[in-house]
Amino acid sequence: MAKIKGAVVVDTERCKGCDLCVVACPSDVLALSKELNAKGYNFSYMENPDACIGCAACAYVCPDACITVYKVKLQD
């Protein structure tokens, strides 16, 4: 069966750390970092990248359009 694997790239300087993507993610991939960006926000990042399925739920709810989503189908 094909397995789907995804990855997201967060524009960390545009991100305001609102946490909505973390809440929207069905696979608990995202979390807010302990580091800060130039504006002083705890930006979102992939804490658990292996669980990402590339569903783009995070990107749909992101108010600042700072998430880019990629997805591949793996054959095993």
Binding site: G6, V9, C18, C62, A65, V72
Partner: protein, 253 residues
Amino acid sequence: MTTNEIINPANLVHKKTDLLTDVPMHYCPGCSHGVVHKLLAEVIDEMGIQEETIGVAPVGCAVFAYNYIDIDWQQAAHGRAPAVATGIKRLLPERYVFTYQGDGDLAAIGTAETIHACNRGENIMIIFINNGIYGMTGGQMAPTTLEGMKTSTSPYGRNVELNGYPLNITKLLAELEGTCYVTRQSVHNVAGVRRAKKAIQKGFENSELKKGTSVIEIVSTCNSGWKLSPAASNDWMVKNMFPAYPLGDLKNV
């Protein structure tokens, strides 16, 4: 396969549309305005009407919308966006004209302009962001503030005996002959975002078909004004705003 191998333009699923400029939005973290701006930009981009679209920005948090979506904009005096949009649409009837207004702009100072533009059935789209509060000026009570809802000017909650009832203006607009499509949507989750995007697209299509005024209310959050976190605001909205402002189409002809 490692994450770096997946991150390749060939595997792209979703990215920011180019119509949304690189200027960081001034909205508070988690503000619904950002999502609606993004949807507008995506719809305009997908329909390929960037050169034919004119937006009318309100007074309110969205006053700087022209910085964020790369189309033609006009900024209107407080509440007068539907009147300005009427003028633009009548002079340039082939353009797609929309207004983008908050509840203080549309339902308080601009009630007359809104009702009459809808009653005349101008071929414009009105996007109405309803968060039940005056966000930009510090969270004062708005016409759409819920009964019992605390704001900076109703610290003990809205008292209907003193302040009147929450104004369900979208329901009012649905009664008018001039409106062709009146709907209430939200952008708090993925399904809501998808439905709101379809509604915005339908609004532009109605304006092309000269069917009348389309009103798209987006029940939104103002987490700064509500003094809640963005995620808690969404939950509060689902629990308190949706019973008073139920989602769905109010009119679709």
